[in-house]
């Protein structure tokens, strides 16, 4: 570590089209506060480096970056960002490491680079508060609002989550809500009705729905882990879900990944 503060990143993906406005570079932080059974990026859950095996070749998930290295990587595409584009911090849970990167955020702001964060908001409120001034747009996952289920399945606290969401709203941020849809958990009536209720009280927020999938299978295998299979959700079902949410007044987009 050379005594220097470093950030653990699994991937920096350039020219992303779906993680916010314009052309973007998405930084995937390693380490998450939850362990969603449907996670499609299992290599981002653990907060340490992990070895993997693919076709007999071994390697390590996770690479440490200094702040300067990360900055240089992000600004490589600055000319492509234009007016709207920029950087999206994703993960894992970016709000675990991002609060330690305020000078980086500040430099990016100075360059007028748009900053998005994809978060599940299961983090201490202080962490959220520390990055708030720098972030243009939050994508907030809304997964399980049922207290016991949230604790047992994800390992999260609904109260913290809702408090953080309120904090965002109180500060005038307009997050885009993302709902991963699966019959086994999120769409279960006792949970989904809570989601509908919450959205009904916030009809001005945009909502994206998408089906959980098994695209992370190869990554699970590379880590020697089992990838759960999910009952397939058809586009028609997603459309029905969108209609149900839409009845509460929200504008809903179907994200077909």
């Amino acid at each position: 570590m050379d005594g220097e503060k470093k950030t653990l990143i699994t991937n920096i993906q350039r020219m992303c089209m779906h993680d916010g406005p314009g052309i973007r570079t998405t930084v995937f932080f390693k380490g998450c506060s939850l362990h969603c059974p449907w996670c499609s990026n299992p290599e981002n859950i653990s907060a340490g480096r992990e070895s993997y095996t693919v076709n007999g070749n071994t390697g390590m998930y996770g690479k440490f970056y200094t702040e300067e290295e990360l900055y240089r990587e992000i600004i490589k595409d600055i000319k492509f960002f234009g007016q709207g584009g920029g950087v999206t911090f994703s993960g894992g849970e970016p709000l675990l490491q991002l609060p330690f990167l305020q000078p980086l955020l500040s430099r990016l702001r100075e360059k007028d680079i748009n900053i998005c964060v994809e978060t599940a908001l299961h983090v201490p409120t202080e962490s959220l508060m520390s990055v708030l001034p720098y972030v243009d747009l939050f994508f907030v996952d809304m997964k399980i609002l049922h207290g016991d289920m949230c604790k047992n399945v994800l390992g999260g606290e609904v109260a913290t989550y809702l408090h953080n969401l309120d904090t965002l709203l109180d500060r005038g941020k307009q997050p885009i809500i993302r709902i991963p849809c699966n019959r086994e958990y999120t769409l279960k009536e006792e949970n989904f009705s809570l989601i509908l209720d919450w959205l009904k009280t916030h009809p001005h927020l945009s909502v994206e729905v998408f089906a959980t999938h098994s695209l992370g299978k190869a990554k699970y295998e590379s880590l020697g882990k089992e990838c759960l299979r999910w009952a397939q959700i058809s586009t028609e079902e997603l459309e029905e879900i969108a209609v149900r949410i839409g009845r509460g007044g929200s504008k809903v987009f179907i994200n077909s990944i």
């Binding site: 052309i23 070749n57 000319k79 492509f80």
Partner: protein
């Protein structure tokens, strides 16, 4: 005519088997013995005049008349063939043939005599065609061909027909890869006047352009050069203005719309782009590319024009540049610049180093590179020797449509044109850079392999070293990445190449240019041994400026923009994307942003293969079901079904890589 009964596919086979020339010869021997003899011993003008007198004038099938009588194709085996050039079609639009001639008092040398005779022969053919149209009761086209003799074109349709007429003469005379030039500019006055006079509507003009393209496509099988589709019929659209801003007109968009409508792989469009161009024009071009038709290719004026000026091209000419069949910049109607007369194989240079007696004694990468550069110079000197006897044939027809020949009273073969720089392409630069980076890391830095071990592994074509092969392919530094080490190594290789050809002068006093567009990536690689970039023997080399890196298009554009195209390194440098039509559809606006931003970042040229792997795999299996599937190869579009299998495979492989499905 013979071989008329054949289907299009049969004709393609027919042409490739070169039976055409044999059949024509035996037909001529029997039916036209005089001409048969003339072809072998007659002067250029005697043969040209005979051709204009003998070619059979067919009936008009579509709107336009455009024909090549392949019994009377000019015999080009007498010397080097003219190819990759663009005549000045503006001359025939704005003047009658008679007006192009030297007045009697100015006929002061043999060239002037031949020049005028050539025009007389053309006028004679005009008269023959006019008579044929008259016999068919077609007074309009009768008048149109008679008018061509001594007056400018009288309207848009007539201008298009004139271009088709002159163009067919070039094909008839054995020229290959005949470019068409800046047709939006050349045709503007006639189009604009017809629109003002309400003689045509925009829709009618679009129909005319569609018919024009269909006419040009008619002899696709005959016009194709090495591969089917390689016809070089390239139409240049849009230009950055010398005084600032960007020039395009209604025809610029109409040409693009017409290509979208006819969905033919040929002719091809090249759009000259600049940061000052209207975004709407870029959107229209992207829509056209999205249809999979393979063009337009984008050529970045903001980068290219300054390079041409720095090389010594007059400012006015530089702003009027076009390209040879694919990408190589030239000045239409002024350059007599065969731009693709040979190729430099960088992997061959690597092979030379490996063949050094004391190669295994090398202990430092720096030493290795010194040896590499020494061999690069040797390879280039041999190449220069190889092209030193390149002489252009006497060619009054081309001289008529090459502006400066008239004033200089000199044929294109003796320096009548304005620019005479020859051009070469290169191949395997990406494989070479990657192999060098791998050597540096593994042999000279980490010492995980010795040179002897590498030599053995290459000689054994990676047998038993599959894991190493995959690791080499997946190195952390690769060609196409915007990493300083990769860029500086690539630029250094390019600059050393330049050093060796800087002083070269051909017999007309022109220089030698090179570019990194690499049309020989299969041909040059076929019998070539394994290379240390993780390429097995016989596998194709890298395609143009492309990359299998996962970071995508922005990184590749950054890389391409960081390459040094200065001095003589501007002979075509195209970034080649594989992209799925679905991806463009889903991200249309962002793709437009990418291209517009890419112009500012500074790519030299850019072309796209808009196709998904699934379609290609199906089309290979079942070609009958995909008769019109168009792909982009080298610098042109072609029907997928007509490509040799190895070209089909490389496209499938690249599409899979692009979609992240490659194994």
């Amino acid at each position: 005519m013979f071989c008329d009964c054949k289907t299009e596919l049969e004709r393609n086979e027919y042409k490739r088997s070169t039976k055409l020339q044999q059949e024509a010869d035996s037909w001529l021997k029997e039916n036209q013995p005089e001409f048969y003899k003339l072809q072998r011993i007659g002067s250029y003008n005697a043969v040209f005049d005979a051709i204009c007198s003998f070619v059979e004038i067919p009936q008009k099938e579509g709107r336009f008349l455009h024909f090549v009588d392949y019994r009377y194709l000019f015999d080009t085996t007498r010397g080097y063939r003219f190819e990759n050039l663009t005549p000045d079609f503006g001359l025939i639009v704005n003047k009658g043939l008679q007006e192009l001639k030297y007045p009697e008092k100015d006929v002061t040398n043999d060239f002037c005599v031949d020049y005028n005779k050539t025009i007389d022969s053309m006028m004679h053919l005009c008269e023959r065609i006019a008579a044929s149209r008259k016999a068919a009761g077609d007074a309009v086209y009768e008048g149109l061909f008679l008018n061509m003799k001594d007056k400018p074109a009288r309207g848009f349709e007539e201008a298009l027909q004139r271009i088709l007429f002159i163009d067919q003469l070039f094909w008839q005379m054995g020229h290959r890869l005949v470019g068409l030039g800046h047709l939006d500019r050349i045709l503007w006055d006639n189009y604009h006047k017809d629109m003002q006079d309400r003689k045509i509507t925009r829709e009618e003009a679009l129909e005319l352009l569609c018919d024009f393209m269909k006419a040009l496509h008619q002899y696709y099988w005959l016009k194709s050069n090495v591969l089917m589709g390689d016809t070089g019929q390239i139409i240049i659209l849009g230009t950055k203005n010398r005084d600032g801003g960007y020039y395009c007109n209604e025809l610029t968009g109409l040409f693009i719309e017409a290509l979208m409508k006819v969905q033919l792989p040929d002719p091809k469009l090249l759009l000259r782009v600049s940061k000052d161009m209207p975004e709407g024009l870029m959107k229209l071009s992207l829509k056209c590319m999205q249809t999979g038709v393979g063009s337009p290719i984008l050529s970045n004026d903001d980068v290219i024009v300054p390079k041409l000026i720095a090389y010594g091209v007059d400012k006015e000419d530089a702003y009027y540049y076009g390209t040879s069949a694919c990408w190589e910049p030239l000045i239409p109607g002024k350059s007599i610049s065969p731009n693709n007369i040979a190729y430099l194989s960088y992997p061959k240079v690597l092979k030379r180093v490996w063949n050094h007696e004391d190669v295994l004694e090398i202990t430092e990468f720096k030493q290795w590179m010194e040896c590499f550069y020494q061999e690069l110079k040797t390879e280039l000197s041999e190449l220069k020797k190889k092209i030193s006897d390149y002489r252009l044939q006497y060619n009054p027809l081309l001289s008529v449509f090459t502006g400066d020949c008239y004033t200089r009273k000199s044929d294109v073969s003796t320096g009548g044109g304005k620019y005479h720089n020859f051009g070469i392409t290169t191949v395997g630069l990406s494989n070479t850079v990657n192999a060098l980076l791998n050597l540096k890391e593994r042999v000279f830095e980490k010492h995980s392999l010795s040179l002897k071990e590498v030599a053995d592994i290459l000689q054994n074509d990676f047998k038993g070293y599959d894991k190493l092969l995959n690791r080499l392919k997946d190195s952390k530094l690769k060609y196409g990445m915007d990493e300083e080490e990769v860029i500086s190594l690539t630029n250094e290789i390019l600059r050393v190449s330049t050093d060796e050809i800087r002083e070269y002068r051909n017999y007309l006093g022109g220089g030698l240019k090179l570019g990194v567009s690499a049309p020989s990536y299969i041909e040059a690689a076929r019998d070539f041994p394994a290379t240390f970039d993780g390429r097995r023997a016989g596998e194709p080399f890298g395609v143009h400026i492309s990359s299998d890196c996962r970071n995508g298009y922005t990184e590749l554009i950054n890389f391409a923009a960081a390459l040094d195209y200065g001095e003589n390194r501007f002979n075509g440098n195209v970034v080649d994307f594989m992209i799925s039509p679905h991806f463009i559809e889903q991200n249309f606006d962002k793709m437009t942003d990418l291209l517009m931003a890419g112009i500012g970042v500074g790519f030299f040229q850019l072309q796209m293969n808009v196709i998904g792997s699934e379609t290609l795999i199906k089309a290979k299996k079942d070609p009958e079901k995909y008769p019109n599937l168009i792909v982009r190869v080298w610098g042109f579009s072609a029907y997928f079904r007509e490509l040799p299998e190895e070209y089909q495979d490389i496209l499938i492989c690249r599409a899979l890589e692009n979609e992240g499905k490659a194994s």
